[in-house]
Symmetry: C2
Subunit: 114 residues, 2 copies
DNA sequence: CAGGATCCTCGAAGATACTG
DNA sequence: CAGTATCTTCGAGGATCCTG
């Protein structure tokens, strides 16, 4: 069975689409540093609405990349962390983030040049 | 100057959003193998419309990641290839694509489990 | 505090048709 | 062949209010 990202009807393409969006990348990146509470995450990630955060977390959770844990202690809340499967995403995600951080200047320069 | 992908107003975030979408990833991945003509690209990448392909290429081009070359010879046409800057994106992109190809089964399993 | 539900809008993206 | 132009639709996503 082929899993070529070039094939439209292939599961690998679906998988790629699942993670290849900016919010997922940023959320994974944040959870890669340490588990976060919901409010922490929203505070950490600038400009994400509660709706999008919840939606993104739920999507990742449904696909086994993130798990939620209830916190009974005061103050009560939820904690999110990467699953082992989710942690395998850290390398690609960090690679992307690193690239973005390092090449932003070059991109801006190229934009001005052309 | 900070380039933290967590900050909403930071250029690095904009950069990340530029490339963190499925079409860009797939297009970069394709061009990473070899230069392609427009029609080749569309054929290669299943399910992408001319509009989206043109749009994606233009965006990447405007940011100095891809360059277009006119082909005068018969049959005439255009050829797209990665710029040196664009090639620096190959590692992250391949990393992502590899992950998607390798972990699709696991994702599907997780989806069923929960 | 961590969401679910609802409403609404605006832009992404398909379809189609035309051009150098 | 490699696009551009136009129109339209459809759903992502913001704003707001409500609940366990």
């Amino acid at each position: 069975m082929e899993h070529d990202v070039f094939l439209a009807d292939c599961p690998a393409r679906t998988t790629l689409q699942l993670i290849a969006d900016a919010w997922s990348v940023v959320v994974i990146h944040a959870l890669g540093q340490r588990p976060h509470r919901y409010a922490e995450l929203q505070e950490r990630i600038g400009g994400i609405s509660k709706k999008m955060l919840t939606q993104t977390l739920r999507k990742l959770q449904d696909n086994g990349l993130v798990e939620r844990r209830r916190i009974p202690a005061a103050p009560p809340g939820s904690e999110y962390r990467l699953t082992p499967l989710g942690e395998t995403l850290l390398e690609p995600v960090r690679s992307l983030a690193r690239w973005a951080e390092q090449n932003t200047e070059a991109l801006l320069a190229a934009r001005g040049a052309d």
